[in-house]
Subunit: 268 residues, 2 copies
């Protein structure tokens, strides 16, 4: 039901499974000199045997856009940030926190590990502001959400910058590294229609990169209307035909969220 984006049915009733809030949640922010060492640290987290509640990243451009608001001074040569969250019972969070500190520290320029509730809140508020801070760099942005295998993360992050360069646009990305979910962003001047057009071409290249890396054109934000047509770029014709047949099976009269998640693009 969630993956279909409302195109195959409507929810008429739901049971909610409640999961207890963790007793404690202790984040760690680690800074690295480049994308390669940062991505290696993320792989080391996966290999460590402990499971953080979140693995986030910010690349160089995202750090530059948000550096001034970070709770402490960041090293000048910091070009990649990994944020992880250790949660569970107080004992468990402390145990995971200790393991993650060890894993992330090895090649880090700095590890920031707030423990006071107020400082932890400040770190996540800073993280929540990343998208707005990136927008503020040039007044506008075209930001796309893609997902790729976690072991291709570095290629996705560096590929985003390279695509921006090809279309003469500054680019950056941040996102949910643990899921391979990138918010790849091209920063534009909204008053310049040529830049917006170049950014749209850049986005097409980005989707092609996601598919090439074994990923998908949509991570957590779905196809909706904006990505209508991208399914056909990603899937074989037989899979697209199946996608459309399923829609007709569930919704022959096209009543359910019409015009969304279409295999073919609709231009107004």
């Amino acid at each position: 039901m969630i993956g279909s984006e409302g195109t195959l049915g409507i929810v008429t009733a739901a049971w909610v499974k409640m999961i207890p809030a963790p007793e404690a949640a202790l984040p760690l922010a680690a800074l690295y000199p480049d994308t390669g060492s940062g991505c290696a640290a993320i792989e080391a987290v996966f290999a460590s045997g402990v499971i953080p509640a979140a693995i986030e990243y910010l690349d160089q451009g995202s750090i530059e856009a948000t550096r001034g608001a970070f709770p402490v001074d960041l090293p000048g040569d910091a070009r990649f940030m990994v944020i992880v969250d250790a949660d569970g019972s107080a004992d468990e969070a402390a145990h995971v926190h200790k393991e993650l500190t060890e894993v992330l520290t090895e090649d880090a320029l700095l590890v920031y590990a707030p423990t006071a509730t107020k400082e932890i809140g400040a770190l996540w508020r800073w993280r929540d502001g990343a998208s707005i801070a990136v927008t503020a760099q040039r007044g506008g942005k075209v930001s796309e959400d893609i997902v790729i295998p976690v072991d291709r993360l570095q290629e996705g992050i560096e590929g985003t910058i390279e695509i921006g360069r090809r279309h003469d646009l500054p680019a950056c990305s941040w996102g949910h590294a643990g899921d391979g979910n990138l918010h790849s962003t091209f920063m534009i001047d909204l008053d310049d229609p040529a830049e917006l057009e170049r950014a749209e071409h850049a986005a097409e290249d980005l989707f092609a990169l996601a598919v090439e890396l074994g990923g998908s054109v949509s991570g957590e934000h779905g196809i909706g209307m904006v990505k209508n047509g991208q399914i056909a770029a990603q899937w074989a014709p037989a899979a697209v035909a199946m996608h459309e047949a399923i829609k007709r099976t569930f919704d022959p009269k096209d009543l359910l969220n019409p015009g969304k998640k279409l295999a073919g693009r609709v231009r107004e």
Copy 2:
């Protein structure tokens, strides 16, 4: 793909997500004087805020069939057993174990809490033998797997016994209480065709009970061939028609696991 039981496609490649084995796993087996107090203990586990890796139960008949092989002497008036498993890092498992001990002890006749690896292994081996021990009671059994909402567990367990009584068959159940998954069993003499026939009628009543309680005719074992036709008993005609339309969409030539998970029953 799993829920379709192979009727909608075949797996051609898979990525395997590895989850670290827990450092420690500490089971607890708690005995209660009746189904009501045992089910109340299970609800108390849910309400406790800690999450065990397993919540199993055995009812009176299952306990009687396996009592002799249990690692320690069980109280004579024990008529319901709850087994939970506390796992995680050593600290976390100890923490969850302590909380669960507190929750389960309140109304228990006995709480058996092995901590040595050998004793823990013996408990789970005993649990694995439950199905065979129940079969051994009368030489045969008709055992069906249903699933019901966890808050209807007592009704499902007592209803199984009542259905057996109606069809003049001794009955019992055990299963995965945390998922509301019952292995409801009617014990039969395999040399008596009349008993087998009565057990099949009892199974039909059992499926009706599962649906009445808001559950499903299949928990973890699927529809397969044995439960062909049960979908139509459980679902509205429109849902059954949709089920068949989806099968035709994915597999118009009926090549994928033919004859399984059919809405209508097939009699040889």
